[in-house]
């Protein structure tokens, strides 16, 4: 699912594809929540409901050779990037057919084939990593773009500032994408940051920056085109703040004491799928049968993924310590 | 070193030599060799122990002064005071 980066396409196929990608994430996350309540998925799980427009708007603009670093809320990013839904679901089950051999789980999806350098459970942990990937590219001259996704919570981490400074100081091709969903777990932005205009923080490091309505997939895509183009040409980092909102709890076990239901309802009407679908229907770009067709295609893909995971196998315990260190017989990357 | 400490050391060392004897109830002026059946080797070990623990050297000619509990205490106490 790559999109030409020169001028914004508003073709019907492209619009339908954007809608399908967002609905695909939403329904996948919905199934994951169901499976979690049935104890099929364990550990921590953070779903992407409400923020789909960012992954769907940004990731397709990247090229196959570019690299992505994400966070523990990375199911959507992995799916849009092209990590097979079967392997993602199997990973959620902990089966060895999963994309990280079942060893990572929801927060640690890795895929070398798509240069998906993983989820990361440490807030801000991915930023220095992305800088490193960009440093290597800087030295190897492959003119890549390294997209680094993180929540607004990460800006409080030293690593955020260290990474932005390093990227700006050494001129490294990092596209910093901040998914500002207003809440760092239970802490609203206003009570965790002196300067709540996140995008402004980037200017302190002389990094070109922009803020965009994260609920508008078309706006996000347009901003992403500008950003990726800028990074590719200038070899300098670019900071894209996407203002969004998460409809579900931070994670499964979160009674959301920190926000009231009214606020959630307000955002439910502004969420990306509802807005985009209503806009498309208002402009006769799509019809109800288009929607039901793409929904049934998605449900079939999800059913197949669940079946694949259910049929998956447990890694034999004798292999517990395997790959703690490199195995000379097995090259890295498989 | 206090008087009590000195008597405690003497009692402990005699106890090492004659474990089954009840040193505490021995008449302080009685001849230890009779009271708790110690021979010349035992007495030499006692003298060695006192030298080791308290740094007091007891020449052979002074041995007779230490054959009773009181005698031993007086002799050792005197030597320690002199060293202070």
């Amino acid at each position: 699912m790559t999109v030409s980066t020169d001028k914004p396409h508003l073709s019907r196929d492209h619009m339908l594809d954007l809608l399908k990608q967002m609905v695909r994430i939403r329904r996948f996350e919905d199934k994951c929540v169901e499976l979690y309540t049935q104890e099929k998925i364990r550990g921590f799980m953070h779903v992407y409901d409400g923020e789909e427009a960012i992954a769907v708007g940004v990731i397709p603009v990247l090229e196959k050779r570019d690299r992505i670093v994400a966070t523990y809320r990375e199911h959507g990013h992995a799916l849009v990037r092209g990590v097979p839904m079967t392997k993602v679901m199997a990973e959620m089950y902990g089966k060895q057919e999963g994309c990280s051999r079942g060893r990572g789980g929801s927060m640690h999806l890795f895929d070398a084939a798509t240069n998906f350098h993983g989820g990361n459970a440490i807030v801000g942990g991915g930023l220095p990593l992305a800088v490193g990937l960009a440093l290597a590219d800087h030295m190897q001259g492959n003119n890549l773009v390294i997209a680094c996704f993180f929540g607004e919570g990460a800006v409080a981490e030293g690593e955020f500032h260290e990474s932005l400074n390093l990227a700006a100081l050494w001129g490294l091709p990092v596209l910093f994408v901040c998914e500002n969903n207003l809440y760092a777990m239970g802490t609203a932005l206003a009570i965790s940051e002196s300067e709540t205009d996140i995008q402004h923080k980037a200017t302190c490091y002389r990094i070109a920056s922009e803020a965009v309505d994260g609920m508008d997939v078309v706006a996000v895509e347009a901003a992403a085109r500008r950003a990726v183009h800028a990074v590719r040409e200038s070899h300098k980092p670019y900071f894209l703040e996407c203002r969004t909102y998460r409809l579900r709890a931070h994670s499964m076990f979160d009674p959301q004491l920190y926000r009231d239901k009214g606020e959630i309802e307000v955002w439910r009407h502004k969420e990306p799928i509802v807005r985009f679908q209503e806009w498309l229907q208002a402009n006769q770009m799509i019809h109800q049968d288009d929607v039901s067709r793409l929904e049934s295609e998605i449900d079939a893909e999800i059913a197949e993924a669940v079946a694949f995971a259910e049929a998956g196998t447990w890694e034999p315990v004798e292999q517990l310590t395997r790959f703690t260190y490199a195995d000379p017989a097995v090259p890295t990357g498989r | 070193m206090s008087a009590i400490d000195i008597r405690k050391v003497i009692q402990e060392e005699l106890n090492n030599i004659a474990p089954e004897a009840d040193i505490a109830s021995v008449d302080p002026v009685a001849d230890l060799r009779e009271a708790i059946d110690i021979d010349s080797m035992d007495f030499l070990n006692f003298v060695i122990a006192i030298h080791h623990r308290l740094g007091v050297d007891i020449p052979e000619i002074d041995y007779p002064k230490l054959v009773t509990l009181d005698g031993a205490f007086a002799y050792i106490n005197g030597k320690l005071q002199a060293q202070q």
Binding site: R103, F110, G118, P128 | -
Partner: protein, 335 residues
């Protein structure tokens, strides 16, 4: 002092110069290698190890970093993940705590966690140990912490040969390797073979053979242990001194071979006793050589106290030769 010395088979050198030689050698032989750390370039290194390297290799490969330990260590890990062979210098183990998250949660873990999708073949060097009256925050000896972590290897070069030879071998390793250089050794001078080069990094070494007791140590403490062994010999006690060299993985075979012969062991470790590397070595001896033991295994570690600033207190807190001698005699049942 490096080039042009007469072709005698050995050159007089300090431990610091041996490490510098190792860096120069690695940088010349592999262009993927670059050095990154605080003050390694213009300043020439906090312990003057990288002095002169900036002029020789330029700012791209001798990279001064801001005080962002987590940042540049993570960057080193990231660069190693995709083809570079960085040498990250964390000035001392004390500052490595800021980078421990990157070292543990990414470097040590990524290969296993990603199902072998990614590795992190970098080398992290850090100074360690006390003895310079730098007080509590700058005197840690936490080799044991790192030796606890599966996924990384941990080395402690105590001799000039190891300071010179371990780096290149470590750089060839596909997994992260941490090299601890004890601060008290930098000034240690000695003779090094002119053609000294690569050494193995997984075997312990018998620095002094003996039959009465095994004194097992590493890094800075090795020299205090040898001093103790010499003193013991004067009293007719023949101590065998084992230099662990690799703290992870531990060379069990060499340890057990020695203990099976002497039947007694004392471990000398500058870490704090509780949960220390010494504790681990003791437990392995009990697990593998229990039937040969003739005396309880002894340990000589730092006193469990933040290292104090005054010299006499610092010395009292650290393992010293007299403590080692006393422990050895106790194990031999001699006053």
């Amino acid at each position: 002092m490096q080039q042009g010395t007469a072709r005698s088979e050995t050159t007089e050198m300090t431990y610091r110069e041996a490490v510098r030689e190792a860096l120069r050698d690695a940088m010349k032989r592999d262009e993927r290698v670059f050095l990154m750390g605080e003050d390694v370039g213009r300043y020439g290194g906090c312990y003057a190890v990288s002095h002169g390297l900036l002029a020789e290799f330029g700012p791209e490969r001798i990279r001064d970093t801001p005080l962002s330990e987590s940042g540049f260590t993570g960057a080193g890990i990231g660069a190693a993940m995709v083809g570079m062979r960085p040498i990250v210098e964390l000035m001392t183990v004390n500052f490595s705590l800021l980078a421990l998250d990157q070292i543990l949660n990414t470097a040590a873990t990524v290969r296993h966690m990603s199902g072998n999708q990614f590795g992190a073949p970098l080398v992290i060097r850090m100074a360690t140990g006390a003895g310079r009256q730098l007080a509590a925050q700058h005197s840690h000896s936490l080799e044991g912490w790192y030796a606890h972590i599966p996924g990384i290897k941990v080395l402690a070069p105590a001799t000039l040969e190891d300071a010179r030879g371990m780096l290149w071998t470590a750089l060839q390793d596909p997994d992260p390797v941490i090299i601890f250089e004890n601060v008290m050794l930098y000034n240690m001078a000695g003779k090094l073979a002119a053609n000294a080069g690569q050494v193995n990094i997984d075997k312990a070494a018998v620095r002094r053979s003996g039959r009465d007791i095994s004194l097992i140590s590493y890094g800075g403490s090795l020299w205090k242990t040898l001093e103790a062994a010499t003193a013991l010999a004067a009293e007719g006690i023949e101590a065998e001194v084992i230099d662990l060299r690799s703290l992870r993985p531990l060379d069990d075979a060499s340890i057990m071979a020695s203990v099976a012969k002497t039947r007694r062991a004392i471990i000398v470790d500058e870490g704090w006793r509780s949960g220390s590397l010494a504790a681990e070595v003791c437990m392995r001896i009990i697990e593998q050589a229990f039937w040969f033991l003739d005396a309880p295994i002894g340990r000589v570690c730092s006193e469990e106290v933040p290292i104090p600033y005054p010299r006499h207190l610092e010395n009292a807190a650290l393992p010293q030769a007299p403590k080692i001698i006393a422990a050895a005699k106790a194990a031999l049942g001699r006053a």
